[in-house]
């Protein structure tokens, strides 16, 4: 067998030897760095030309695009799960589901699905922490029907009681399996560990879902879904003046918008280490520190530092050392969260087989300590900037990309010129800026650890040079089902 294998290697070597590098044929560059590129001739598109404030007060971004017989819509409403009433966690999520599935005045529950399916309308209402997002796409020749349905869903939902009870049962069913897999388990546990006893760590439970009734949804809908509380983006095959006229009829005149502010939240780690016992063969690990709420003058420096540390994929230090060199994980990332509603965190996460839990963690910490001690190189800084700036043309591809991106931009209160200034802001960051933010935030002594894995295996393999799992204190070990009961 070895002889056969050896023969194959020799054969391949011979075959490969006749191939040429690109430089050997047709005067091609001998290395990609020698390719001479033409100019891109592209500038970041402005959002202003698409922006309208309609006669009904609706803030809208409108772009025509006749390439496909398609219309795409996204609307952002300032509301979200952070505003769920205490004890009724999950309300905003149910609001989104029931706006469509709970029927409307013109389309009762048993007919809304039929009309949506008959015309192949893609309609979704989803709720995040700090945003309710309505999205739709449909064939342009069904625009009249689609906008009739959209109007019904946005402004005339009836929140049918029977449908509400049915959706609640489905949600409760999903809740009982939300920790079957380790990834979502880690996500929930990390929020609990970093934002204890705040709206950012609350999770829906069976009781909180049961307490949600129709009256609550009607009230939430009244407060959240209104013309004045919306930023609307639409692109596709239509006539622009006709679309403006359509939207002015679809949305009622904007009235006063009530209290849409989100609660004030600060990151406040509750434990040094939170362990979720799960009998699996890997350890899912995330450790982090509190960061800031944007806008913050440290953001771009942190963004570059994060790219170099672990946000930049294979070329990042963590990707190179922990994944590529050591083969300890399939995925390792650093994430300096870009939060506009409450302070984010800066964390590192990865998964590795239980036997290398301590080794991978120690190596990650070593990489961070080296970054703190020695800073970054000129080449790393340049690479980070080029990568972060170079991706801009991919952000603005289609007219829909442009209007959706600027709608989102306005929702979070950023300058209309944010993307025009972005490259300059990043280019202004120096090595000293990066060193300063790493020193300010990325302190290994301050990390809060969250780990999902088999407790016995974690203990058996958690202490190596550079990391002592047993000494993380205070430490709490719980079952996945207990995560929602943490403060």
């Amino acid at each position: 067998m070895r002889l056969i294998a050896f023969s194959i290697i020799v054969l391949l070597s011979s075959a490969l030897a006749v191939y040429c590098s690109p430089a050997d044929e047709n005067g091609l560059p001998s290395h990609p760095s020698e390719i001479v590129y033409g100019p891109l001739n592209w500038t970041v598109p402005l959002g202003g030309p698409y922006r309208e404030t309609l006669s009904n007060g609706l803030r809208a971004y409108i772009a025509t695009d006749s390439q496909l017989p398609l219309i795409q819509v996204v609307a952002y409403f300032r509301w979200g799960a952070l505003k769920d009433p205490s004890g009724r966690e999950g309300a905003c999520s149910l609001l989104g589901k029931l706006m469509k599935n709970g029927g409307t005045k013109a389309y009762p529950p048993d007919s809304i699905d039929a009309v949506v399916d008959r015309y192949a309308l893609r309609i979704n209402v989803s709720s995040g922490e700090d945003m309710v997002e309505f999205s739709a796409s449909f064939l342009s020749d069904y625009a009249d029907t689609a906008f009739t349905v959209i109007k019904q869903i946005l402004f005339d939902p009836i929140f049918d009681k029977k449908e509400l009870e049915r959706e609640k049962k489905i949600v409760i069913e999903d809740l009982s399996h939300r920790f079957d897999n380790p990834g979502p388990t880690l996500d929930a546990a990390y929020q609990k560990a970093m934002y204890a006893a705040t709206p950012a760590s609350r999770l829906p439970t069976e009781q909180s879902i049961r307490r949600i009734d129709r009256n609550l949804l009607v009230d939430l809908h009244r407060r959240a879904i209104s013309t004045g509380n919306c930023i609307f983006s639409v692109a596709g095959k239509f006539d622009r003046p006709a679309m403006i006229e359509r939207l002015e009829k679809l949305f009622p005149p904007a009235g006063p918008v009530g209290d849409t502010a989100f609660p004030k939240i600060l990151a406040g780690p509750s434990e040094k280490c939170l362990v979720i016992h799960k009998p699996i063969t890997q350890a899912y690990v995330r450790f982090g520190v509190p960061l800031f709420k944007r806008p913050d003058s440290d953001y771009y420096a942190a963004s570059i530092a994060n790219f170099i540390l672990g946000g930049g994929g294979f070329t990042s230090r963590l990707g190179m050392r922990v994944r590529s060199n050591a083969g300890l994980t399939y995925s390792i990332h650093a994430n300096a969260e870009s939060n506009y509603t409450y302070p984010g965190t800066w964390y590192i996460d990865f998964f590795t087989k239980s036997e290398t839990f301590g080794q991978a963690t120690a190596l990650s910490l070593e990489v961070i300590r080296e970054l703190r001690a020695n800073g970054i190189t000129d080449a790393e800084l340049e690479h980070a900037k080029e990568t972060l700036v170079g991706g801009l043309p991919s952000t603005f591809r289609s007219p829909f990309d442009i209007v959706a991106t600027y709608g989102w931009n306005e929702y979070y209160g950023r300058s209309p010129l944010h993307f025009q200034k972005y490259a300059g802001d990043l280019q202004a960051i120096t090595k000293d800026d990066v060193t300063r933010v790493v020193g300010k935030y990325m302190n290994p002594a301050a990390f809060t650890f969250t780990v999902v894995g088999d407790t016995a295996a974690l203990r058996a393999h958690g202490t190596v040079e550079g990391f002592e799992f047993e000494k993380l204190s205070p430490r709490k070990v719980i079952a996945p089902e207990s995560i929602p009961l943490l403060p």
Partner: protein, 506 residues
Amino acid sequence: MDVAARLLLSFLFLGLSANAAEINLPVSYSTLDNGLRLIMVPDTNVAVVSCRVYYFVGSMYESSGYTGLSHMFEHMMFKGTRHLGTTDYEKEIPYMDAIDSLDRLAYNREQAVGHPDSVSQLYRRQITETLDKQRKYIKKDEIWELYQNNGGTGLNAWTADNMTAYIVTLPRNKVELFDWIESDRMKDPVLREFTSERDVVMEERRMRIDNRPDGRYWERLNALFDIASPYRIPTIGWPSDIRGYTRAKLEQHIHKFYTPDNAVIILVGNIDTVKAKKDVARYFGSIPRAPQPKEEPITREPAPIGETRYTVYDQAAPHLDMLFHTPGFPNPDLYRLDVIEGILSGRSGRLYRRLVDIEGLCTSVDVSNDLRLFDGCFQISADLKTGTDPARVEKIIREELARIDAVPPTDAEMRRVSNEIRMSFVSDLKSLEGLSDRLAFFERLGNWKDMLTYPDSIAEVKPGEIPAVAKKYLDPAFMTIGLLLPPPGAMPPPPGGFTPSTEQLH
């Protein structure tokens, strides 16, 4: 010699009118002398180009002892070539050879004693030490860095059962970088850092399959559904095969499959098609074909002789799958099966209405008619509510299948399916990358043009044709049924009544 002058065996520039003339998709198709196909779709509204090279190889070309090799090579393609990722390739060779020998010693030791032990660990440490010496000559992840520095986004790769893709989206003026890197990867890949990347793949397998109840369940159900067809092979490979990978095995695999005559390049975006075609010829034109034409798998799934039933008890949401054997592409019955998929699918579809709305037994239902080469698969899946008797769900699905056998669909159902197919078709064209994958999918099945005519083929299906097709392929007597259920006697967690089992250790 001007390679461009000798490239074109065939060149088409087609302004094909797709789907009732509502979309004009300017697809150009050409083939180099060496068999490399090039598909381009210019779109001047964007500033970028989706650049993808697809090799028509995947797990269906693998066999026992070699499963997952295409996926392993997907990882290794980022390790570089003779010219990229190295400062002196020749000096790396002895280190790689030494690592191969040490790796075989470690492997043989583990096989002999049945598990890693101190001896195999010693070999592994020696591998690490040798690799550290080799790394003096390695330029880490140069391919990744080159793409990133030039505005590349979405840099990645993926592996499926019948093809593997290497993908990046570049600013429109940087497409030549793709030609340089991908032609070099096609010609001269180097399997450096092989053993550590094999460990990475094993971690990926643990994440995707071994530590996910649904992953474990599905991998085995798939292997039960196809008892002979190579679609039964898991794309990521069986664990013992992954551990048994060697550079020699992988090089043999590369030699057979990663050649221009088994690849298609698809460029979608703001592209100068004349220049792009010329550049592809310059960079790829001299790469030779495979020594032997690729052999397609010859093993076909034999007709089932009865029902296969498979039950797994695990910590997961209760779930049911019913799988039926269907023909491979092309076959006109596949369009009729697509119509059946449409009738059963969606919130207003027959199955959702019965199982979720009326009976309240399930939380969701999904139906898919998978188009595959040689052997197809029609799948019905349902997520069950806790406590639901799976036999009741199975009974209702059987009733609905019997109804399709007996009565043609209504005109309203046919209109709904037609709209859905049309919307799916248009939606696929929204993104450069989505269009690229769709073209590759149909080119893999035989001809990219089928993508454009697919909606019309569905529209030609007559309601009266449906019952016979349902009767022929969707016969429960020959289905594979899988059940993923909570362990017997397991109770759902009490409603909020937990007391956290805290452990204050220090």
